[in-house]
């Protein structure tokens, strides 16, 4: 049977492989992302989930919300386990999509080595990073994916230091640097773009990386009903850029008409509530530089104030480091 190509959400099959009745929080970005990815990939798929929210809300013995074959072992080995599963299935002559779904901690931080190994070997698997920008499953600790300024339990609002002082790691650039066949960033607020990218990942062979921004209600201190709106604002403010790298060719798949000031994104989330004007400006400047990097154009003032002469953004104020 030749599966119909899925171009928009109208083509999306209604068969669920992540079924209702799982234990995710209302408004969980991860659940929305996984459910829709599963609808695109369909039956012949095997899923590996490392330590993350996803394992806890989808597979708690004796129940399981996955209708796919499901495997879990540890936190840092998604790239390696899916490599092994794929090798075995290939030997058994089975055409099966093998997918690993890890969180940002399991991808940006502890899982980076296994991810890099699998990407370098160009394993024929799909690696999905469900990025909710902190270690949500262990109680909201900062990760390499946490944005600048955000509150987490390990970047608390102290008297001396408020929130995370480092910017989000550019995992997409790191993964793309492995020259893999396909890499894309996804948003749950752009469903047509979302399903098209998953469909494309399914149709390509070799290592594929999908990076989904997944709003987290308890971690982001936001309203359950606002998850999709927040995800949309992430794109409109430039906190999240929708693009893909298809066999080395980078292409933006959605460009906001104008850059919305980041403040509008921040004010919907309790994790940024404490941020000073100065810190918001720092974050805005970081966004504007990324905007310029992606869209090859200057951003007007306001929202941005970029000094022409500045070479690099120095955030630790250590005179030894420049400018």
């Amino acid at each position: 049977m030749v599966a119909k190509e899925i171009k928009t959400i109208k083509d999306l099959p209604r068969d669920d492989y992540l079924t209702r009745g799982h234990g995710a929080c209302p408004g969980c970005g991860v659940a929305i992302a996984v459910k829709n990815i599963a609808r695109v990939l369909g039956k012949d798929t095997i899923v590996y989930v490392p330590a993350s929210c996803l394992i806890v809300f989808s597979a708690l013995y004796p129940a399981s919300a996955f209708k796919w074959p499901f495997f879990y072992t540890a936190f840092e080995n998604t790239g390696a386990v899916i490599s092994g599963i794929k090798a075995a299935l290939k030997r058994r002559g089975r055409e099966v999509t093998v997918i690993g779904m890890a969180g940002d901690g399991g991808t940006f931080d502890i899982g980076l080595q296994a991810l890099s190994g699998a990407a370098e070997r160009n394993e024929d698997v799909i690696y999905v990073c469900l990025d909710n920008e902190a270690y949500m499953n262990t109680g909201i600790q900062r990760s390499g994916a946490t944005p600048f300024g955000a509150w987490t339990t390990t970047s608390p609002i102290g008297k001396k230091v408020q929130g995370k002082r480092e910017f989000k790691k550019d995992i997409d650039a790191i993964v793309s640097a492995h020259s893999i066949p396909y890499m894309a960033t996804l948003s749950i607020a752009h469903p047509n773009d979302f399903v098209r990218k998953v469909q494309k990942a399914k149709s390509v062979s070799g290592f594929r990386f999908l990076h989904v921004l997944c709003p987290c209600v308890p971690g982001w201190r936001s309203e359950a009903s606002k998850s999709v709106a927040i995800a949309r604002l992430a794109v409109e403010t430039g906190m999240w850029t929708l693009y893909e790298v298809d066999h080395g060719v980078e292409k933006l798949t959605y460009k906001p008409k104008t850059l919305v000031p980041v403040k509008e994104y921040l004010q919907l989330q309790g994790r940024f509530r404490h941020m000073s004007e100065e810190d918001i400006e720092k974050l805005q400047t970081w966004i504007c530089e990324r905007w310029k990097h992606h869209f090859y154009e200057e951003v007007p003032v306001p929202p941005c104030k970029i000094e022409e002469a500045r070479k690099a953004l120095i955030i630790d104020e250590d005179p030894l480091h420049g400018p």
């Binding site: 394992i55 072992t73 075995a88 296994a114 190994g117």
Partner: protein, 388 residues
Amino acid sequence: MKVISADHAVAHGARLARVEVVPAFPITPQTLIVELIAEFINDGELDADFLPVESEHSAMSAAIGACAGGARAFTATSSQGLALMHEMLYAAPQNRLPVVMVNVNRSLGAASGIWVEYNDSMPERESGWLQVYIEDNQEALDMVIQAYRVAEDREVMLPMMVCLDGFVLSHTVERVDFPDQHLVDSFLPKFKPLYLLDPDEPVTMNPITPPEYAMEMRFQLHRAVDGSKEVIEKVDREYGALTGRTYGGLVDTYQMEDAEIALITLGTVTSTARVVVDHLRSEGKKVGLIKLRFMRPFPSDELESIAENLKALGVFDRSVSFNGFGPVFTETRNALYHLGTPLTNHIAGLGGRDVTFKEVREMFTVIEEHAKGHRVKECHWHGLRGDS
């Protein structure tokens, strides 16, 4: 028949066992194994997938993934590499995935070295893996083949670690006989997984398990390790009928029929101790040797029936639990406690130090003294420079 190292014997064993997926990462003194397997695959002598992974943690992860996907998986490691795998080792037994791994024993940590010591594999006896210790190159080859038969037996379905002495075996050549491929094929059928990741029959493997269920799963694993004893004995007998070579199953004995005192050994020291036993026998001493092959399952009952009438027994250890005894001694004392047999621990060969005839003789001297009822230290370190 070929003259090869134990590492190469292992690689030939894996080839004859028709392993299908081999995730591998290099570490001395294991490297010769995966190098030769890579050559077999690239030369078309072995139909398998070689996964050159980026760490031992990933090697074990990929082996577990491959086994869950229904393939016969093999890997090899040593020392620090085994330590890095530690976390992943626990996933294989509890998921009943019969991965076979060769660990070339090597010392670990500070006072770093690349020479034999069992302090890498001994701590892993709590992981649920079966563990066999090898005496020579022929046994290395034969045990890789036997390991798959035991591990994949429906009554067992557990991973197995084949442990061999770094350099003493891994890089030393001996004559090794190769069984015919068709003989191995008749002994070791194609792997039939018990549970499998297959979209036609989806299963959830290793969900999060709450306290209401987890303890029973541990108990099942405990019983499976215990139950593997019979299978190990049976497989060894069957292998012997096919090839003419058996290893005694869980334990092998030498000159034990009328022995009054004996020494428990494992690994290559057994060969040294055999010669010492011969010398002592020629002097009229009723000494014997117990070659302990398996640490898991630990052959408590078998040791009990062998040691029943001994006047004293010594236990060799090539690793140590600091401030305590060697692990083999601890396990042996546990098993034989109710017999009341006088026991002594003999720690030697740490960090790859040679264990010579002289030291093994010293061990027997202590055991003999003990048998006469003289007071001796419970734990002796042999071959130390300076006082022991």
